[in-house]
Structures are given as structure tokens and as C-alpha cells.
């Protein structure tokens, strides 16, 4: 009964995007079982083929961990859509093969390459077009120059990260861009569910700045009702009310860092730490208002103990403490290993490596994780098998640099 294929097994996706948001959207669709053809510019490739972190590889464009994470399970072809021959082949893929096209450039750049949604839907009116961009397809900042840092700033998430007495701090990596890709994938599947009933195509217009603003979650609402802004609070919980629970923070211990947390379990925290200071009436009544004191008490206790033992003891008392893990620790963490949360794959580009695997576990369909393609790895296969080109036609395209 149970299928061994993904929920999107019969969906064909053309990934025209470069960077993080669009490719991550297409990667999620591939993980759900869609067939995804990633189209890259010949000789150039996706911008993440040049982004850190670098891992040892046989070729310069193949050794970027970010590219590999974002392009798992896709076929890779090269195609110069700005050349007339390339544009014609692209249009044939849109007309005869694709159910979904994912783009990742700003609107004006898309229009100049005939990748705007109007052009795409004219070719295939049943298409779901997913446009992921920094600022979206309309609005006064549509044509702004952007990047992760600027989207985080204009989406407000930057203001909420870091210490209150220092500059706002960018979270690691590409969190807003990844989040936009996730929203875009959710929008794509919602659109597919409807399109498959109505027969009418749809355009999913997702933006990184709105993903950052979504991540800022409750802060705008609080400011609206309280008449003042909440601010970044380092690792502490955002509450401004001295009566609110504390700790919720990250503190150093003997061999690393722990996330320390106690909400309704204040008495259990006293049991854990065994310091009568924690039971003082003022601390009990206004824990958040005494955060500095609580930190000092905690630090004394943590300094003489190891992370593993601290978390184990706290969890036994149902206190939600966790370890602050390094990436090196995450990939060998016993829980994640036991769950198969990461999967080892062999790639001709970077050899054996571990990749995040099933973030969603389906009882009746699969989450698929397969390695990322080399630049143009499947060009011949796709042109031959999907577009029925002859070997001679493919050779001509290769010689003229179209693929």
C-alpha cells in the first residue's frame, strides 16, 4: 500500500533561479518527489558555486557546500536562455514539460530575459510560476539592490538579533533567504492543489524581506499595542515585564555553552542548582527583573560542570535545557544519528559527505535526498530524453556555447 515515491512525484519543476531562496524552494519540491531540472548559465553556473564554505573538490565550481545543500536531488543542465536557440529550447521545456517554473531574480531582470510571469504564462497557461526575489514583484522598493543583510534590515529581524548595547547582528548564513524559499515552496504546493482542480495557472510572488518580517513575528504587534518597541535582548527572552519567567538564555559552562530555560518550573531550577539564593522572594516574584543576578548564580554553578551532565540533570527535572552544539557535534549527535536525520551521500564533486535529510517524515510517501548535480551534468540526457534532440543537434548547441 505504502508508496515509495514522493507526494509530488508527477510534478515537473524548472529551476531557473540562482542564489539561495529560489533554489531552496526547488530543492524542497525535489525532496517531496518532484522532478527538478536546474538550468544554469554555461560556464558560469549558480552564484552559490562561488559562495563559502568551500569544501575540497576536484573542480573550482563544484566545491561549495552551500550549492550542494541547495541543489540536492536536481538534474543539472546548462542553457543560455539569452541566446535565441537557448530561449527556444527553454520555451519548449516550459510548454511541453514543466508544471512549475521557479525564478530567483528581481522583476526587471526577469523581464529582460523573458522569464517574467507574463511571458511564462503566455507559453503555458496552466503553469505555476514561483518568483522568489528580495523585494517581490511590486512596491516602492521593488528595484532596490538587495542581499541577505539588507533584507534582514528592512524586514526588521536584524534589529531583534544581538546585544542591546551593540549593533544589530546578522544571524549566521542565509536565514531570511532560506525562509523565503520555504514560504515559496508552501505557496507552490498550495497553488498546485488549486491549479489541478481549476486548470488555471498561478503566480506565487515570494520575497525575502517579507520572510524576514515574518520571522520578526510578534514584535510589531507588541509595539502596536504597547506603544513602544521591543528591542534585541542578546540570548534572553524578549519579555519586558519584570514578572516574566527567567532564565531563557545561553550561558557558558565548563566545556561549552548551554541553553538554560525555566518557565513554570522555577522551583525545579532551585532543585537543579541547589543555591538558596535562587529562592529569594524578589527573584521569585520578578525573575526577568533580576536576570543579571540569576545569570551570576547560574554561572557559578555551570562553571564547575560539563554540558552533557547539566542538560541530562535538567531534563530529568523536566527543565528545558539543551546543549549549544557546533556543526561538528550536530553531524555526530547520537540522537540525530539514531534518527537518520543526516544522510551520507557520495558525490563525484566532494566525495562522501553528510547532508540534512528528512525534515518532514511521511508515513506513506518519501522525502528524497540525492546529491547535487555538477555544472551541466545532465545536459545531454535532458536534451535527448526530454526534448528529443539528436546527438548531432546537441553537438551543435555545445559547439556554439548555447549549452
Amino acid at each position: 500500500m505504502t508508496s515509495t515515491v514522493g507526494a509530488l512525484e508527477d510534478v515537473n519543476v524548472l529551476d531557473m533561479a540562482s542564489g539561495v531562496g529560489g533554489p531552496f524552494c526547488a530543492k524542497l519540491l525535489a525532496s517531496l518527489g518532484a522532478s527538478v531540472i536546474k538550468v544554469e548559465q554555461p560556464g558560469v553556473g549558480d552564484s552559490t558555486r562561488r559562495s563559502p564554505p568551500f569544501v575540497p573538490s576536484d573542480r573550482p565550481l563544484e566545491g561549495r557546500a552551500l550549492f550542494h545543500n541547495l541543489n540536492l536531488g536536481k538534474w543539472g543542465i546548462t542553457l543560455d536562455v539569452e541566446s535565441p536557440a537557448g530561449q527556444e529550447l527553454f520555451q519548449r521545456l516550459v510548454t511541453s514539460w514543466a508544471n512549475v517554473v521557479v525564478t530567483g531574480e528581481p522583476y526587471l531582470a526577469l523581464r529582460s530575459r523573458h522569464l517574467d510571469w507574463e511571458s511564462l504564462l503566455a507559453l503555458n497557461p496552466r503553469l505555476v510560476v514561483v518568483a522568489v526575489s528580495d523585494f517581490g514583484m511590486d512596491g516602492p522598493a521593488r528595484d532596490y539592490a538587495g542581499c541577505e543583510l539588507v533584507s534582514l534590515a528592512l524586514g526588521g529581524y536584524l534589529q531583534l538579533t544581538g546585544d542591546p548595547d551593540r549593533e544589530p547582528l546578522k544571524p549566521y548564513g542565509h536565514q531570511a533567504e532560506y525562509h523565503a524559499g520555504l514560504h515559496a515552496a508552501a505557496g507552490a504546493v498550495a497553488a498546485l492543489l488549486r491549479t489541478e482542480i481549476t486548470g488555471k495557472g498561478e503566480v506565487v510572488d515570494a520575497s525575502v524581506v517579507e520572510a524576514a518580517s515574518f520571522l520578526s513575528s510578534a514584535a510589531p504587534g507588541w509595539s502596536y499595542f504597547l506603544g513602544e518597541d521591543t528591542n534585541r535582548v542578546g540570548n534572553r527572552n524578549t519579555s519586558m515585564d519584570p514578572k516574566q519567567m527567567y532564565p531563557s538564555t545561553i550561558r557558558p559552562c565548563r566545556d561549552g555553552w548551554v541553553h538554560a530555560h525555566a518557565s513554570r518550573e522555577a522551583e525545579m531550577l532551585e532543585v537543579l542548582v541547589g543555591d538558596p539564593e535562587l529562592g529569594r522572594a524578589e527573584l521569585r516574584a520578578e525573575p526577568k527583573g533580576h536576570a543579571d543576578e540569576i545569570d551570576a548564580i547560574l554561572d557559578r554553578w555551570l562553571a564547575t560542570r560539563d554540558r552533557g551532565a547539566i542538560v541530562e540533570e535538567a531534563q530529568r527535572l523536566r527543565l528545558p535545557f539543551t546543549e549549544v552544539l557546533t556543526p561538528e557535534e550536530v553531524v555526530v549527535d547520537p540522537h540525530l544519528v539514531a534518527r537518520g536525520a543526516l544522510i551520507e551521500l557520495e558525490s563525484p564533486s566532494i566525495g562522501r559527505a553528510s547532508y540534512p535529510h528528512a525534515s518532514i517524515r511521511f508515513g506513506a510517501s518519501e522525502w528524497i535526498t540525492a546529491r547535487a548535480p555538477r555544472l551541466g551534468e545532465h545536459t545531454v540526457e535532458v536534451l535527448g530524453q526530454v526534448l528529443n534532440l539528436t546527438t548531432e543537434e546537441i553537438l551543435t548547441l555545445q559547439r556554439s556555447g548555447v549549452v
Binding site: E328, V330, P356
Partner: protein
């Protein structure tokens, strides 16, 4: 047509991630019935229960974060610890498509509401579970909240100021991530059911959801490459790339010079011809090597201007820059307002209030307007009578036994 027209969701969500997944489905037009325990909302006023509307009037209906996370839903109350409550839930399961829950991993089975039980009442049911760590494995029974997951995914370790300790992102990251991911998984399972007729149990461990967006660091770590984290606001591929103080209290602007051409344009704005002529600064490698000095110069230039002025001047020159917006500014920023990032809903107890919209829009056939959050138990009668098939006298008995309540209470 609503994208999820005709789809009914029973949501047993708590805190952030579960309710967030529920509202995403509600925003897409599903009928989301939130099933709340009789004691689910605080009876007494607590923080962010807004005094503006009176201290004592139904504080449980005036929690702004709760109302954001639970918009586009209906609400019923049900005590699932007693058999009568379970029976009502199972009769609702029979007429629903999805059950969505984010209890810790053992709770549904302990309640006698595991997937196999639900399936007996509705063979096509899709159960979506969102435990923090998953239903098995050494940490399956751990308790945790969002920031604890961000600590375990590697995200907190990798963030931070140069030379500083780990720093969590915003209030949390993995909660929103898990919520949207669960909505994606739910819709994928709906499509699978449409094609095959099969329902299924979908499990989303928040920690595993959180691994996606640090995947590059994990891949690198697995092949022995140590990832440079805690770089403050610096980048390995762009310089200058930072956040600079502007005039005004806690006012900042983010600037990223993405390539050599943008550097030359910045130099003209800075009125520093010596920089333009400095060949060592013409390439990103040279600028990365000289970041301290360049940041000091840019910082001085920004300090006397407002963040918006710096943003406008740089953007006119085609340089990536943006004022660091405070939460209140997200509600008035012309671009975000134009995009509808915070639609206002009219809530009976809170009045007009903004909620954060999902980050995508349908251009041709827009999703229905976001609906305000339900008052506690607002749909008790309608749902019990019309969906659970309960008679008026049966509903009265449920109320009498406090299996169904109209105001929160503790215990019973």
C-alpha cells in the same frame, strides 16, 4: 477559489510552531478548528494582555501574539482527558481531513488518540505531529522551546559578534521554520491523498526542520572543514559589509558592497578619490584585508545622517543598503505596507490589529483576507451541533460536565 477550499483541519496546537502551521492552512482557506483545552488560555491578565481595553475584561481574548498565531481559525474547547471529550474529538475526526498537533511525542498516544485510533474513525485522515525531537531516538522525551532547538541545530553557535559567544537569532528561528514546514508537509500529504486515496501520519521534528538552513555548515563539518561562524556582520565575499550607526537613538543602516563596481560608486558618495585610486581596494580581496579601516570611514560618513537618508542615497547609486527597521516601523514602511506584510484584522476584543502575513502572494487569484483569531470557544455550539452532530441537550451536558467551557478555568 480558496487554495484549500473544502479542507477541514482540527488543530491541537500549543505555543508557536503548531498554531503557526494551523494559521498558514487557515490563511490558504482551509476551515481550521482550533481545539483548546478548558485551561488553555490564562484566566488572569498576563503580559501583553492589553490594558488599553480594560484590565479585567476577558484577558484571554486579548493576547496579541496568541491572536496573531491563531488568526484564520475557529475555536472550540474540549477536555480531552475525559472519554466524552475524546468521543467528540473522534466524531470531528470523522468529518475532517487533517489533525495537526505539537504536543511532546508521547501525549497523543497517552490520550488514546494515536494515528491508528484516528485512522479507524477516518481511514483517509492525515495526522501531522510536530514534536521537538521526533517520536523516537535518545532525546525523544526531552522538553524544549524554540530557542533550545536553535541551540541544538548549530544556528546559535554559528551566530555572534567577532570574538564573542554564541547568539540566538531574533526571538527564535526554528518555530516559524517548523510551522511553515509543517504546513508544506500537510499540503504535500493532501496532494498524495488526492492521487492515491491514502492518508498518513506526517512527523516533523522541529530540530530536523532546523538543520536545513545550516545545511552548508553541516556538510562542511562532515568533511572536516571548520566553518567560520561568529563573524559579526562581515561577509567572506563582500566588503564593506556591515551595520553602521546613524543619527538618532539606536538607529542603524545595513550596507553591503556586492562587487567592485559598487565599491567605486560608494567611493564617489564618500568623496574619497584616494580610495578610488587605491588599487589594493579595487578588489574584494583587498577590501576584505582592510576592513577595519574601511568600516571606520563608512561609519563616520553614516553617523551624521539618518538611516533612511543613507539607504536612499546608496540605493540611488545602485548599492545594497537598508535602514534597520524597528518593529513599529515594519507597520508603516511604505514597501511592506504596499506588499501587505501586516494586514489588519478586526478583533472583537482588541479592535483593529496587525498580524504578520505569510511571505508569498498569489498574483492571479489572491488568497482570502486574513481573518481575526477566534474568541475562546467562540464556535462551540456551531461546531458541536453541525460537525459533531451533538443535540442541544448533549451540548448542555458537555457544558455541565465542563468538558466544553466558554471561559477558561484551571482543573475541574
Amino acid at each position: 477559489m480558496r487554495p484549500l477550499a473544502g479542507i477541514r483541519v482540527l488543530e491541537l496546537g500549543l505555543a508557536v510552531a503548531g498554531p503557526l502551521a494551523g494559521h498558514v492552512l487557515g490563511d490558504m482557506g482551509a476551515d481550521v478548528v482550533k481545539v483548546e483545552a478548558p485551561f488553555a488560555r490564562p484566566k488572569a491578565p498576563s503580559e501583553f494582555v492589553h490594558a488599553a481595553f480594560g484590565e479585567t475584561l476577558e484577558p484571554w481574548n486579548r493576547m496579541s501574539k496568541f491572536n496573531e498565531l491563531n488568526r484564520s481559525k475557529r475555536s472550540i474547547t474540549l477536555d480531552l482527558s475525559c472519554q466524552e471529550g475524546k468521543d467528540v474529538l473522534l466524531s470531528l475526526v470523522a468529518v475532517s481531513d487533517i489533525v495537526l498537533e505539537n504536543y511532546s511525542s508521547r501525549v497523543m498516544a497517552q490520550l488514546g488518540l494515536g494515528y491508528q485510533v484516528l485512522k479507524r474513525h477516518n481511514p483517509g485522515i492525515i495526522l501531522v505531529s510536530m514534536p521537538g525531537f521526533g517520536k523516537d531516538g535518545p532525546y525523544a522525551n526531552r522538553v524544549c522551546f524554540g530557542p533550545g532547538i536553535d541551540a541544538m541545530s548549530g544556528l546559535a553557535h554559528l551566530g555572534g559578534y567577532l570574538g564573542g559567544g554564541p547568539m540566538k537569532p531574533g526571538a527564535h528561528y526554528c518555530d516559524q521554520n517548523a510551522g511553515v514546514l509543517a504546513a508544506l508537509g500537510t499540503m504535500a500529504a493532501l496532494r498524495h491523498r488526492r492521487r492515491t486515496g491514502e492518508g498518513q501520519h506526517v512527523e516533523l521534528a522541529m530540530l530536523e526542520g532546523g538543520l536545513q538552513s545550516v545545511g552548508e555548515a553541516l556538510i562542511a563539518a562532515s568533511v572536516g572543514v571548520v566553518v567560520a561562524g561568529r563573524q559579526g556582520n562581515r561577509s567572506d565575499t563582500m566588503a564593506p559589509h556591515g551595520v553602521f550607526k546613524c543619527s538618532g537613538h539606536d538607529s542603524w543602516v545595513a550596507i553591503a558592497v556586492r562587487n567592485d563596481e559598487e565599491w567605486q560608486r560608494l567611493v564617489r558618495l564618500l568623496e574619497r578619490p584616494d580610495f578610488a585610486d587605491d588599487r589594493s581596494l579595487a578588489t574584494v580581496e583587498g577590501r576584505l584585508a582592510d576592513q577595519d579601516r574601511l568600516e571606520a570611514v563608512v561609519g563616520t560618513w553614516c553617523a551624521a545622517q539618518t538611516a533612511k537618508r543613507v539607504e536612499t542615497r546608496l540605493q540611488r547609486a545602485g548599492i545594497a543598503a537598508g535602514a534597520v527597521l524597528r518593529p513599529s516601523q515594519l507597520l508603516t514602511d511604505p514597501h511592506l505596507v504596499h506588499r501587505g506584510a501586516h494586514p489588519y484584522v478586526e478583533h472583537e476584543n482588541l479592535g483593529s490589529s496587525p498580524v504578520p502575513a505569510v511571505a508569498w502572494h498569489f498574483v492571479l487569484d489572491p488568497a482570502p483576507p486574513v481573518q481575526p483569531a477566534p474568541r475562546f470557544g467562540a464556535d462551540n455550539d456551531a461546531v458541536l451541533a453541525n460537525l459533531a452532530g451533538q443535540s442541544a441537550s448533549a451540548i448542555a451536558r458537555l457544558r455541565e460536565a465542563r468538558t466544553v467551557v466558554d471561559e477558561p478555568h484551571r482543573g475541574g
